[in-house]
Symmetry: D2
Subunit: 418 residues, 4 copies
């Protein structure tokens, strides 16, 4: 059988393959083909790592060309031309125009590694041990990041109690509670029992938590709160960054300038592993090699990363995100939400979620995932008890593909709610 | 200036670039060229990630071809043809012939991630929280792995006390102490104060610790000790694995079968980020997704990984390691050790260290690194107070290149000891 | 000088002596005399350890008689007549009439030790590691209890980060937030990041936190919440217990039956160190000696403890607490609160606090303490930034003494607010 | 039944009563009587809290007199005449003659509380978090002290992993290993994985560990090691102090001056709860109240403590300890060790242990305890798997009582080994 090799030899930890049971071979743009040649639309986007679509030709040509020239591939943190080109391009074309003054730290090429580095640095700069993270957050699966991640099944996997993080209610959880005032009380009340944190870490849109965009006003107040107390404001822009929110950085909509920003997933442009941490220059008190990792010099990813941003800028991809997002919003509001009382839509840019929690029993979103897959659409669920169907197409998706995918979702939702 | 971009925009955490100050562009086999066209021999090997040499043509062709066909690049843990090909080839051609029965877990593509997964699994299987790691060990820089890593500068970077690991003296540290008996006492003495561990984690050759091969007999006794107490025996084969020891797995020389094995670095074959954990089937109690990561499905690396092993087997690369290692050993013993009293050589396969500790002040090995670089050789130091010059060429290095590099080392050692 | 010995030889950690600068010699009932023969009224009550007054004659005679008979004084947890007498009397005259079915654990004779035992047991019974404690709480100064204590200066003294406790907002802190619903969300939301606790630990009246009685309804809902989730409901009745609330146990007013109760301070009756933990019989899964301590068999305290309760019951002391408390309430409301806008009174039974927070700068309550002392009244401050003047006379205080003390407080408050 | 009240109402955590099943009533010197009037000799000494014997008349008279005068009993850390008298007497008659310059900290009146305070202070002074404690150690049962305690059953009772302590092999455990050199390596090797500690905490004679006196030379070298690295040398003199070793402080035999000393048990003189920490004046950086506890001002114990030391000095009790110890040593060597191959004797002063480990199965010492009890002797076992019969009579025991007890032990040992 096609899947026998996996079922025999791959660990039970494998997960997505249990929903998307085909063996995939080829991919292009927003389409994937399995080995039987069946075509799938992709609203999953490699969990956010494929904002420029699968095997984007512009990037692909650069990558192949670099390989053909025997460009150095693996260089740890040695200086290379490919790295310099990326840094220079990123500084001049992304950071400078936005008035952002960051230095770049190249970490091991995974999001969790970037968040571990961010938190290490915040503790080092402030001399504090505690960190504030939001309930609903996902920041990674290695122990330092996992302490911030809130998903209980993941936390339990640690095998030891997780420490040194205080979880703050996300603003949407208790609407009656002003969570900025709450944090203010925690750090000013000399009997709160909660230590002043080194950092406040947030995703501006909680993705795994169930597609919850935080209010711009909340983000501004959070930044102000941090500045007031010498707390570093850390934005995990790993999933919602790189253009998905409608701006390159998700925090731009709030007009804030975080102290530290973690990027991964689509920063590599072509699905190649890469992660960076942006930090304000005055925070750059790292000692050489104090946080390191073998693959922090993945030069093929640097080539792809620069190409991807060139493509994004030149083709006006980032600018078109909001318009495409509106297509989703309008379609879902008009065609899907009316299908059943209690269905909710949340999101922005090109990350949207249909929440089934008030409309159907737990597990319904997961059933919808299967219904979509059976109809040729790859899409993920997220959130509390997996109750949210998460629409996250590539930024490069065509309007036709987008609409085709939405039509499938409508059919799938009908099927599971009937 | 060539390096100004880095000095302005890259974090102070950068380290190797401070020793190897050129900007590198092109690489092939055991050679690297900087942007001025200067050629360097490479005895550093990407910290062990480039066992098959830079831009190995056999692998390169497969990688380019996969890209050209629009093979799926990023697939999380979905089934793909590239992954199946790797699994099948690895099981049939590496594991089966060695009588090793392991399932494969694909983790985030960094060594530290693999070790975090290994330790999580060990805690989950045993229900214990403590872990034994050896003094001198390096297992990674994310918090769970960092708790096992022993380098003080790295540990201090954590910013919080590191917990849940008991460090056991490495066998070479106190020759009068039988460290197996020591561990036996720790776990059987009801007043040791040291909790029974979930796992004993070892590198069979400590690399960062200063190139210390552990005795095969010690490894066998360690395995026996583990079995006796239901402790999982975990081998971190990230740096010394993938053929470097003279066998594909470093533990083969001891005839043992660890319960869990971590692989990364050269498993990706081409310097592409990849990491896996091998686990005995009966330990595979993971729940789906219990440890995950966005880039655990780096299919380009899977293609390279399979190609690399094909190349290694077909070209008899692994079999030639010991012979090449003997060239190093003989040369150093004859030409370098006699240069100064107290110089010591340790190693096996193609990982060797010249220890300056008893011959010269701290810092000498680092000076030798600079002298080598000035003479066109890239080589790293390691060990306590960086006192060991670490020779780690690609497995594919030619005898001529090997000898040329050794001759440079001789000149460099002369220079620093004169 | 009188105090020179202390200033030379006693550690700087000494604290109350800095406010109450006399050297005290003799005490009786609610009065203390210093070595110059100056008399002080006592509204401090040994921080709650002297509910029956200083050197209560009824208890004193029993204690002296036991000493004269060479009754065994120190017996660890061996069986003694004195211990049996206490147990039997306590079970028959305190627990049974109230319908409370508890076994008694004798811990080391300090409150902090009782709370450490309570939390150990809760973790053992539930197999969980986390504990919920309230912001504003004080539960002791040894590391396990200190993790629950919220006072930042005390926590900082730990010298290491404190773990395994989640601090829940006390109900009075965010009136808009239903803290029971908040806890319910924490333990049912699979993305809260907060682990299901072994126990919820509360003082029914937060004393050090600033004299905040928790609503009876809140306590009932908290008990219900605990039962629903298999969380043990632990009441720290160390300061507010032993009659001070108007009932022997402070939780009686809410009609609840906590799973575990910690008692210390006045349980010893005569200021002699003693602490016990009451636990529901089904929770008694302790192994012999699993929590121990040399002075857990302080038989002189057992003699005093039984005598104290006999005295309390026979003299109807407990029944008179509410009436005396009303004297305080009426006096303060009529004579003191009107002195300045913003003064607040909180309390019940014979524990009351005048809160200066909204009326005067931080430090005012402490000044009032000094003014009281200068006028012959010993009284403590408590709460956030020490803003609460804490009135806690012995339960045996006469109405005349009570009124005399209140009159001094009025003068002191006038002095500091003028 | 006599014991029914206990069996019904007292927690299963009770332990000594399971061996010594009588209900005790009266005690005097080295004798205890149960309620049936049966007389027992006491070689247990309240686990070391009764060095001056039960109900010592000299102390008793002072205690009763203080009670009769209505001397203040409970005073937290207010100044009292009784406290001043103790401090002054202790400084002038104990510390000064020995050339020891210590300030006194009064902690909660239990040994575990003293050790928590000692470790907090060491962390505060050094800014380090790690602590070295010896394998075999017992330092208390509250969480901070329990982290240092080595007994596995006790540690398991914590319910959470215990942290921030590195356990060092006791010198007797691996005779081939120089444990001072071992510690030196741990703190100087930049790859040991073990952080520089705030303190090294030792009992100069491990009591619960199985009666292991540490060599005086080892103690001197340990002190030197500590001084070299700015590590505070902390002696837990709770059980072996107060004269039991043959000097008032157990460390006097080594001629060392620890930085911090914890005292409890017999410091209270009469079995009354008391504990103090002695600290070098330059370490006294405590903030007022930074470590506190309600019963830290147990003035009745201060009266007893001063009386006890007066008695000890005036009656030359401390000076006679070594001679009495020799009676034990000679008797056991001549009469008991020859009873069976493998029996061993260890100890000094008036703390001795007969080790059954090499002579008989685990559990034999416990059986001997029962045999002793049946013959009218109360005596404890200690050590790994409870294999040591622990002889610890009061310092005031008469030669006749001592010999009578030894004769019982001989009969008991015969009985269990036959």
């Amino acid at each position: 059988m096609a899947n026998e090799v996996f079922e025999t030899y791959e660990s039970e930890v494998r997960s997505y393959c249990r929903k998307f049971t085909s063996v995939f071979q080829v991919a292009k743009g927003s389409k994937i083909w399995d080995e039987q040649g069946r075509e799938y639309l992709d609203f999953f986007d490699g969990a956010g790592a494929l904002n420029y679509g699968h095997n984007n030709d512009f990037i692909k040509n650069r990558v192949i060309s670099y390989l053909q020239q025997d460009g150095i591939i693996h260089a740890l943190d040695m200086y290379t031309g490919a790295k310099r080109d990326f840094i220079e391009y990123f500084e001049k074309n992304i950071l400078e125009p936005k008035g952002l003054d960051y230095k770049i730290m190249f970490t091991g090429p995974t999001g969790t590694n970037a968040m571990e580095a961010a938190v290490k640095l915040a503790r080092k700069v402030t001399g504090r041990t505690n960190v504030f993270a939001l309930m609903g957050a996902f920041h990674g699966m290695t122990m330092g990041a996992l302490s911030m991640t809130t998903d209980m099944a993941s936390r339990k996997g640690a095998g030891v109690p997780l420490h040194d993080v205080t979880h703050i209610p996300a603003p949407y959880m208790f609407p009656e509670l002003d969570t900025i005032a709450y944090m203010e009380r925690l750090v000013t009340d000399d009997h709160s029992g909660v230590e002043m944190p080194a950092a406040l870490v947030v995703e501006t849109v909680q993705a795994e938590g169930g597609i919850y965009p935080l209010d711009a006003e909340w983000l501004r107040r959070a930044e102000e709160f941090c500045h007031k107390h010498g707390i570093l404001f850390v934005v995990d822009d790993i999933q919602i960054g790189c253009g998905r929110s409608g701006n390159f950085f998700s925090f731009e909509r709030a007009g804030i300038k975080p102290d530290i920003v973690g990027l991964s997933k689509s920063i590599g442009g072509y699905g190649l592993p890469m992660a960076i941490v942006l930090l304000k220059p005055e925070l750059d008190i790292w000692k050489p090699g104090e946080h390191n990792g073998t693959f922090r010099g993945n030069n093929l990813a640097f080539v792809a990363a620069k190409a991807a941003i060139e493509f994004g800028l030149n083709e006006h991809i980032y600018e078109d995100v909001t318009r495409k997002g509106e297509i989703i919003r309008e379609y879902v509001e008009k065609e899907i939400l009316p299908l059943h009382e209690g269905l909710e839509l949340r999101g922005l840019g090109l990350m949207w979620g249909i929440d089934f929690e008030k409309a159907a029993p737990a597990g319904t979103a997961r059933k919808a995932v299967t219904e979509c897959f059976n109809r040729g659409l790859i899409i993920e669920q997220a959130g509390r008890e997996d109750c949210v169907l998460k629409m996250m197409p590539a930024l490069t998706i065509s309007d036709e593909e987008l609409k085709a995918g939405l039509a499938i979702i409508k059919e799938a939702v009908k099927a599971v709610l009937s």
